[in-house]
């Protein structure tokens, strides 16, 4: 966030007293403090509220049992399937987005020729970052339900719309891609030019330089981009509902161990929360709160990871 955090503090100290300011200025000063503290309070309120709800509703067996069709909350089971679903979708999405994103970012930053193509790709990625996930979802459905991609899901022949873990993961990767590309490019732009020059001077090719010198140097940037992308994938509901079916359980299409599951429909924590909220059909808000808290914990964990990575990035500068 603040790339030069202590600039204003050191330069404008010693602090002037606000008592000499006109009333309007003092008012604005107060509003600044109020909004800053307000932001903290909102975040605190969300976490505390979820925590309190969780203590009353989350029981360990919920994490381990599958959902069951029942009108009553005490019999509708837990949410082990959605937790597994969240991990599968995130894994597929990240596995596609991370290498693709890093490759495209290094092409844009290190090669970037022809220039018109690089500009076009750049603006396309910028646009992709702004496309609502619901639009990505219906586009993905249109493409992935085509016959020749039928192997990714149950296929239209079985009356399926093209819903599967594969399809959801593939479209999710588009969600994470701009974040990975952005973080990688930012990292590459921050690297001092002398790194490249030194490597070229040693007779290394451009690709060797990228792979062995530049990319290792910006590993924390890439990692934080990937983690941010994972956060977006985990938090998305629209793509899950449309491309994964948001079914009660993860249903494998056949008995082939992993492929069968990945070609089948399922649900993630987000779709489970939605379906159990008053807006969905389940209307089991205890379960919704419990699942939402697990989701929040995962997000908090990822968030802590990003914070650590970012601090790690900054460490060499301050030394």
């Amino acid at each position: 966030m603040a790339s030069s955090p202590s600039v204003s503090a050191t330069l404008l100290a010693p602090r002037e007293r606000t008592s000499s300011w006109p009333l309007v200025d003092r008012l604005c000063y107060a509003v600044c403090w109020a909004t800053g503290i307000g932001l903290c309070l909102i975040a605190l309120a969300i976490v505390l509220f979820m925590f309190i709800k969780c203590i009353s509703y989350l029981r360990p067996e919920l994490l381990l049992t599958s959902p069951a069709p029942s009108l009553h909350q005490s019999q509708s089971g837990g949410f082990s399937d959605p937790i597994i679903g969240t991990f599968i979708v995130t894994a597929i999405g990240t596995l596609i987005a991370a290498p693709t994103g890093v490759a495209i970012a290094s092409w844009l930053s290190e090669y970037g020729r022809p220039v018109w193509l690089a500009r076009a790709v750049e603006s396309a990625i910028e646009m992709l970052a702004g496309v609502p996930s619901i639009v990505l979802a219906i586009f993905g459905l249109l493409i992935l339900s085509q016959g020749f991609l039928g192997f990714l899901s149950q296929g239209a022949a079985q009356g399926s719309l093209g819903e599967s873990f594969f399809n959801a993961g593939i479209v999710m990767s588009l969600l994470a891609l701009p974040l990975v590309v952005g973080a990688t490019r930012e990292g590459l732009a921050q690297l001092p030019e002398r790194l490249r020059e030194a490597s070229y001077a040693l007779g290394k090719t451009r690709s060797t330089t990228s792979w062995h010198v530049l990319l290792p140097a910006i590993r924390p940037n890439i990692a934080s981009g990937i983690v941010l992308g994972m956060g977006r994938i985990i938090g998305d509901t629209a793509i899950v509902t449309i491309l994964l079916g948001a079914t009660l359980k993860n249903e494998a299409v056949n008995h082939i161990p992993i492929i069968g599951l990945l070609r089948g429909t399922g649900s993630t924590l987000t779709s489970y929360v939605y379906n159990n909220s008053p807006a969905g059909e389940g209307n089991a808000h205890e379960k919704a709160y419990a699942a939402a808290f697990v989701l929040l914990l995962i997000v908090l964990g990822l968030n802590a990871l990003v914070t650590r990575l970012v601090n790690h990035e900054r460490a060499p500068e301050t030394r």
């Binding site: 790339s3 030069s4 403090w33 022809p114 998305d236 807006a279 968030n303």
Partner: protein
Amino acid sequence: LSGGTEKQHHPRRGDIRSPRRRHSGASGERRVELALGALAAALLVLIVAMVVTVLVKAWPSFSYNGLSWFAPGGDVDTQLRVMSEGGHLPGHGVLYFRAWPLIWGTVLTTALAILVALVLSTFAAVFLTEFAPVAVRRMLDPVIRLLAAVPSVIYGLIGILALAPWVEHFIGNSRKQSVIYVVQLNGADLMTGTLILTVMILPIMVAISANALAAVPASWREGSAALGVNRWRTIWRVSLRTAWPAIAAATVLASARALGEAVMLAMVAGSRAFPANPLDGITFLFEPVRPLAATIFQEAEGLTIGPLAHTIYAMGAVLLVSAAMLSFIGWAAKQPLKRYGIRA
């Protein structure tokens, strides 16, 4: 892949940066460049294909309704229900659709949330970069990142289970009775949706604005301070004026996010395609709305039904084109910053 053939005719721009290779490494190097370029080109093709396929799929709905697609006319909920049942309204074709209430709902939620968030985020960003003690700033950074990362479904859950009943409490029975024949007020409404949307887009705007404020050259502020201008005036007249393109870009980015917010608004905004009327006074805030993205999300089950699918893709096309336009405006808004050499 056309990029690959183009490259051979293109003058080698970076000859100084990449020394000539004498042995077989050169062709391998060339292959790496081509492969990476092909990957980037493939992504470009995919994104262009997305725009084209969505527009093609949406075309029947637009061509049947013409420009009236965007106009008011009848109850959208009824039109969608009839379509999902495979029928058509008497006197109209199967594709008859008038999206105005949905568009109005999108515009209302987005614009209101942006307005509130713009004011709050500017103050918060100033606080973060100028006034906050170091300890508070250290705490705010992760807090903002957390607020940005909370999934929208959690915001929606809190909204519908905690905030909506609380808002309903404020509506009062007499206000409910006064409009009972037109619309039901139950706390899931424009105000609840907008409030939560504001909280959702606030972190993005604060983060970008704070970044830009921190990048304003310190000497400019020192110059102002040396002239005896107090700190707030310096921020107002120098920092914010320099950073406004970044703040504008942040606003545009946040509106793209607000525009596409489907799940949260489907949960808390009332899910009723009601054209909320600002002339209704306070009641306006308690009227339900149904933005485009939320409608797509809720009607997605009907994607197997031809006419409804065309209509849904038409809504998607409107969102896609708006998002593309916003991303262009955001790019254009950031250009003045380059003059100062500020990267934001």
